[in-house]
């Protein structure tokens, strides 16, 4: 099976219940969402969802077609194989003692991440980047003990003038 992660950019009508409709469809058809991020799009009344879904080629094709059947879904693009900018943000609260604090700060600097909160026994780190960058920072920090972790899920836009899933065809 050619299992691959796909990034779908979905432009939806900004109506109550749309998240439920999308989530319900994934649950019902047994598709697994890796991450989903939703926010307002460039046009009023439209939202853009970035959904990362893992699965064989046929499965992802079914996801795309089933999503397209939702009346409130305006457009869908599978941007997996296109030049894109993807970003994700994570907040990581990591245990920090007097002994380990400096080492953590060095790692954070290397990743061009920021420390956004300092407490007696912890540091909270904010990091943005693609998923892989976040994964590696999180792995490094795990050694110090991660108390809390929150990730936004990935958002993506295609590079240059081409646009993914705009309302105009």
């Amino acid at each position: 099976m050619d299992f691959q992660k796909h990034t779908l950019v979905v432009l939806v009508a900004d109506k109550p219940g749309i998240l439920n409709r999308v989530a319900s469809l994934f649950r019902r058809r047994g598709f697994n969402i890796d991450s989903i991020a939703v926010g307002h799009a460039e046009q009023p009344n439209l939202s853009r969802m970035t959904i990362v879904v893992g699965g064989a080629e046929g499965t992802v094709e079914q996801v795309r077609k089933q999503l397209a059947k939702l009346v409130d879904v305006v457009r869908i693009s599978d941007i997996t194989n296109e030049p894109v900018v993807t970003r994700e943000l994570a907040l990581i609260k990591v245990k920090a003692t007097a002994a380990s604090r400096n080492e953590i700060i060095q790692i954070v600097d290397i990743f061009r991440a920021n420390i956004v909160d300092v407490a007696a026994d912890s540091l909270t780190v904010e990091v943005t980047g693609d998923g892989e960058k976040l994964d590696s920072l999180i792995n490094l920090l795990r050694g110090f003990g991660i108390k809390e972790l929150s990730r936004t899920g990935c958002i993506a836009l295609t590079r240059g003038t081409t646009s993914s899933a705009t309302a105009e065809e």
């Binding site: 009508a13 219940g17 319900s24 939702l70």
Partner: protein
């Protein structure tokens, strides 16, 4: 002039050509019911249970081709519609279901009879709406009917809070819908159609596999032209029955678990399947990996998500069946498949799936056959689910679309009586026979009261074998005859009929069948016949669950008992 939400709804229904609403009142829909007398053109039929309203709207829709409308109050009224909505969804029946909702200030507070019906019906509607502003109501109704009847049809639910029915605004019915996320593909891709035409011209053993999509898109004539021009045999799904005249020389009946042996053999030996308006349901395909193993598959369907969902497809064509077939017919040349059709005829002779064996006893197949003979085939047959359904499909021949009405996808026992009622309301001049089992009829038997109150002249034949027959058959064949929870000690259906106020007859022998049917037909109103048939009769042919279509079990009381599809190699024809 300002109208109330309830008036706007009624005005909008009239604009959509609605004539009948199947419904049941309750607290939050009272403002609407109070308004109904102002709109005498809208006939309201009071059902006895909301499930009956949904099935009746579905039956009405299947018989007339129009959008069926049902109406229920909030909470339990709405949830009682759910089975009927799901049934319509799986069989792509156009329906608009209207539910009342608690007044806006109470939404989300678990008010009396509040339920999140839009949330509940997300996976079983094409779309649904909760109307929170009376100014949206006209547009929502317009969109709902448009969505229900276009593209791949289906049910749409509109949930309306009580205070929205009361609120007033100007009524303006929109001319057009504006749904940027909804653009069904109607025209097939020309290149794909060309490819399909070429495949047809190269094929030596083509089979057309036709489904309900043909009926829904009114493409029966186009289908006939395609079949006749290229002399291709036609088989159908259960819901496709009637889209091609079953008396036609090129018709080889229904495929699937209880399909005709020869239809299944045809599919198993075809080198090309032209599947139109069908979705490769597992009851139709049998084991998917063994489905049409020698064939390339053309799949014509309006729903792109059906392409490649269950079965690999070589030539997909997304589009409306009527439009695609019209274009395809321009390209397909005259051909003959004499040898191939002759082969199918031979299989039909060698494996006569619809002969009824000799028996002193009253066989259920015999009853269905006699209904066919007495009506001369001129009837709408509405079935339950299970054995009665399969016998109705096998032993009655349908030459026109919309004459067999049956719950295919969901397989809803209890569909038969209310759906027959809806069909008769939609087609008052046609004879409507409800062929039911003694199990299913009891699930919605309360609609006998509706039938009597509204003078709906449905003829009801209960195929009474004292069992949940199809489940018993599976216990017989696959669970060593352990009949757990399938024997029924039913009520006295004749007395039931009498209690509801319609005439009933009990028939126990073969010779009583035709006189009873004639009596029922001659009677002006609804009529019920309780046919007490052979209790342990099984439906054959049967493809066992998990087996390929070629592995047909035929009636062991007729020979030969089991037959595998004769294996044609490409060279033999």
């Amino acid at each position: 002039m300002k109208l109330t939400g309830a008036q706007i709804l009624c005005e909008a229904l009239l604009k959509e050509g609605v004539e009948v609403i199947f419904g049941f009142p309750g607290g939050v829909v009272l403002p609407l019911y109070d308004t109904l007398p102002q709109y005498s053109q809208l006939r309201h039929i009071l059902v006895r249970h909301e499930q009956g309203a949904a099935h009746a709207a579905d039956g009405y829709s299947r018989a007339t081709g129009k959008v069926g409308v049902c109406l229920a109050t909030s909470g339990p009224g709405a949830t009682n519609l759910v089975t009927g909505i799901a049934n319509a969804y799986l069989d792509s029946s156009p329906m608009v279901a209207i539910t009342g909702q608690v007044a806006r200030p109470f939404i989300g507070k678990d008010g009396f009879q509040e339920v999140d019906i839009t949330g509940i019906t997300v996976p079983i509607t094409k779309h649904n709406y909760l109307v929170l502003d009376v100014n949206d109501l006209a547009r929502v109704v317009k969109e709902s009917f448009y969505l229900a009847r276009t593209g791949r049809p289906g049910p749409v639910l509109i949930d309306i809070p009580k205070d929205v029915f009361i609120e007033q605004t100007d009524f303006r019915y929109p001319e057009k819908v504006d749904l940027p996320g909804y653009k069904p593909t109607i025209e097939g891709h020309p290149t794909q159609i060309k490819k399909a035409a070429k495949a047809i011209s190269e094929s030596k053993r083509p089979v057309i596999l036709a489904g309900r999509g043909i009926i829904l898109s009114d493409a029966c004539e186009e289908l006939k032209e395609l079949a006749e021009t290229s002399q291709m045999p036609v088989v159908t799904t259960l819901l496709g029955i009637g889209c091609f005249p079953e008396s036609h020389v090129l018709s080889f009946g229904m495929i699937g678990m209880h399909g005709m042996a020869y239809a299944n053999f045809a599919v198993s030996n075809a080198d090309l399947i032209i599947a139109i308006g069908m979705r490769f349901d597992d009851r139709a395909t049998g084991k998917v990996s063994a489905f049409a193993p020698k064939a390339r598959i053309i799949h014509i369907d309006i729903d792109p998500a059906e392409i490649g969902k269950n079965v690999r497809v070589d030539m997909p064509i997304v589009g409306d069946a009527k439009h695609v077939l019209r274009e395809l017919n321009k390209l397909v040349g005259r051909r003959l498949h004499v040898e191939w059709v002759k082969q199918l005829d031979t299989w039909r002779e060698e494996h006569p799936s619809v002969t009824i064996r000799e028996s002193e006893n009253l066989l259920p197949q015999f009853v269905v056959r006699k209904i066919y003979e007495v009506t001369g085939g001129e009837a709408i047959v509405v079935t339950g689910v299970g054995q009665n359904q399969m016998w109705s499909a096998q032993h009655f021949w349908y030459d026109k679309p919309g004459k067999l009405i049956s719950s295919g996808g969901l397989g809803t026992m209890g569909f038969e009586l209310p759906a027959a009622m809806g069909a008769k309301v939609g087609c008052p001049d046609e004879t409507v026979w409800c062929i039911a089992g003694d199990g299913g009829i009891q699930m919605t038997i309360q609609e006998l009261a509706t039938i009597v109150q509204e003078n709906i002249a449905v003829k009801i034949a209960i195929i009474n074998n004292g069992y949940l027959g199809m489940v018993r058959q599976w216990q017989d064949l696959f669970y060593q005859k352990r009949y757990v929870a399938t024997p029924l000690s039913g009520p006295d259906f004749v007395k039931i009929a009498e209690a509801y106020g319609l005439p009933g007859l009990r028939v126990k022998t073969r010779r009583e069948v035709v006189p009873a049917l004639k009596k029922a037909m001659a009677y002006k109103g609804a009529f019920l016949i309780d046919f007490q048939v052979e209790p342990e009769e099984n439906v054959y042919p049967m493809v066992p669950p998990g087996a390929g279509l070629a592995e047909v079990i035929e009636d062991p009381q007729k020979k030969p008992a089991r037959s595998s599809a004769p294996d044609l190699t490409a060279s033999s024809i």
